[in-house]
């Protein structure tokens, strides 16, 4: 049983054909890494899973994406509900200019949750899951912008966790962080695997190797190879994958 299935995906920005006939399945409770050189379409593909490309002028797609049994581009699907089911963490930490607490519970307050006790519980649970609780438990009423970059990114992860999604998309979540913060984020992602399915776009091949179960290699809008991470990194079937993971181009 797959939690996510993409069938025959083609995507275009205007006349630019950016994703070419992509088929891919993702199993629950796994970490899937998308790798490939800049402009290969991996971020575009990731952003289709929660329909973040909807507002981009000239974006057009063909094919279907099925998440937990539902075609997400179906007219009956409310994109707001989809994004509760499929959370996202972005490249640069993007906390709101609000307090730490307000940031964590944002997904609940916009859905009308007012119960103080429940909000407090969920905030604590999410911050603990994101391994941030001990650092911020005394400053929940302070601005999130006062946190360090690494803490902000973990706050954004906590914010995504608070609405209990089943899939979390991560678009190069550590690329703007220092090595120590990156290590923390990676450790956190590994822990999250127990409860969530994670899809992560990364430029960092070591990172993909360290944390993912499966890896998909994209090149010029095509899915060249998709397999277990150990296979992709040690004995890939395609020459292009081989040269990319060994750093011969990229």
């Amino acid at each position: 049983m797959h939690i996510l299935e993409a069938n025959g995906i083609n995507a275009y920005y205007g006349t630019n054909h950016v994703l070419k006939n992509i088929n891919l399945q993702i199993k629950p409770h796994t970490i899937t890494a998308f790798i490939g050189p800049s402009g290969c379409g991996k971020s575009t593909f990731l952003r289709m899973f929660n329909r973040m490309n909807d507002y981009i002028d000239g974006f057009r797609k063909e094919g279907e994406i099925i998440i937990e049994g539902n075609e997400i581009y179906n007219k009956q699907v409310r994109v707001e509900d989809l994004r509760k089911q499929v959370g996202m963490v972005f490249q640069k930490p993007n906390p709101f200019p609000k307090t730490i607490f307000e940031n964590v519970v944002y997904g609940l307050t916009i859905r009308g949750e007012k119960d103080k006790k429940k909000l407090n519980e969920i905030a604590e649970r999410s911050l603990r899951q994101a391994v941030l609780w001990d650092e911020v438990k005394d400053s929940l009423k302070k601005s999130a912008l006062a946190l360090s970059g690494g803490q902000q990114q973990r706050l954004c992860i906590a914010r995504a966790l608070a609405v209990e999604p089943s899939i979390i998309l991560m678009d190069e979540p550590a690329s703007s962080l220092d090595p120590i913060s990156t290590a923390k984020i990676e450790e956190l992602i590994l822990q999250l695997k127990e409860k969530y399915s994670i899809v992560i776009v990364t430029h960092n091949m070591q990172q993909a190797g360290r944390i993912s179960d499966n890896t998909a290699f994209f090149y010029m809008g095509e899915l060249i190879e998709y397999d277990e991470t150990s296979i992709i990194f040690t004995s890939p079937k395609h020459d292009k994958t081989q040269s990319y993971v060994t750093g011969r181009f990229g």
């Binding site: 507002y55 994004r83 709101f96 200019p97 916009i110 954004c156 914010r159």
Partner: protein, 291 residues
């Protein structure tokens, strides 16, 4: 080459200096004449007397009625323009297609290019009769219609500057909100508008400042009767209208009547100077938050 550079530098410096000197000069004239005025009229009377009748036999020099008239028209204008201007800004920023936004913004700004004398006649000849059709007792000259039309005039100021402020918020914040499953409306009013508050406040302050200094609309449509009232249906007089009235009249130079316009002028100057300084301070204090 070197001398040429020096000449250019001198020329540029001189242009900058001329602007500053002009401002200083204006301020100087204002101060000198106002100082001489306050030699004859006590500043306490000026600030507390509730009548302004310097052109009558029985003279009173209380600025309050003029200040009240100015604030009343400004208040009506801002009350009208703020919700509309902000709605336009949010619409352009959150809902409109980029191409539409690029077209509509300059068109809106054209509203600010309409000569204010045209607005004044629009208020007097169109808006007042229209309002009179359903507001009984609305005088021919009144602050309501002048205020509303002044509101129309400052809408582009508010919408354009507020939209700039919203536009300056990093796109990543908008994405964060969408990514959490927020609607466009929630994103606009829970994330974008709060994040752009300082810029929006600056736009409103500049709009207030513009409305306080506005002359033609109120001179034409609001009347020339200094009156300490909050009733928007009756004729009033603003500081600017009074200055126009006296400047166009035939009061002899150096007389107390003549000097009143400088006292009124310096009052006006203090208002707008304070507002502009506050907006400058807010801009400075908050602008680097996201960089």
């Amino acid at each position: 080459m070197k001398t040429k550079e020096k000449v250019i530098e001198f020329g540029l410096g001189l242009s900058a200096l001329i602007t500053i000197l002009t401002t200083v000069g204006i301020l100087w004239v204002l101060l000198v004449e106002a100082f001489s005025f306050f030699g004859k009229v006590s500043i306490i009377d000026f600030l507390t007397d509730t009548q302004w009748t310097p052109l009558f036999d029985e003279k009173h020099f209380g600025i309050l009625p003029l200040v009240a008239g100015t604030l009343l028209t400004t208040f009506i204008a801002v009350l009208f323009a703020l919700p509309i201007g902000l709605t336009i800004a949010v619409y352009l920023n959150e809902y409109a297609y980029p191409g539409f936004r690029k077209t509509i913004k300059p068109i809106l700004e054209l509203l600010a290019a309409v000569p204010t004398v045209v607005y004044g006649f629009f208020a007097l000849q169109v808006v007042t009769p229209f309002l009179q059709s359903f507001i009984p007792g609305l005088a021919g000259f009144n602050s309501l219609s002048a205020g509303l039309v002044m509101g129309i005039m400052i809408i582009p100021l508010i919408s354009s500057l507020s939209e700039d402020a919203l536009y300056a918020i990093p796109k990543s914040l908008k994405e964060a909100s969408y990514g959490m499953g927020a609607t466009r409306f929630q994103t606009a009013f829970k994330v974008m508008v709060p994040a752009a508050t300082s810029g929006i406040v600056v736009s409103v302050i500049l709009a207030i400042s513009r409305a306080i200094g506005e002359t033609m609309i109120v001179a034409i449509a609001a009347g020339q009767q200094p009156r300490l009232t909050a009733n928007p249906l009756v004729p009033i007089e603003t500081i600017t209208t009074y200055i126009v009235q006296v400047s166009l009249g035939d009061v002899p130079q150096g007389s107390i009547e003549y000097q009143t316009i400088f006292a009124a002028g310096i009052t006006l100057f203090i208002f707008t100077f304070t507002l502009n300084s506050v907006s400058y301070w807010i801009k400075k204090k908050f602008q680097e938050k996201y960089e």
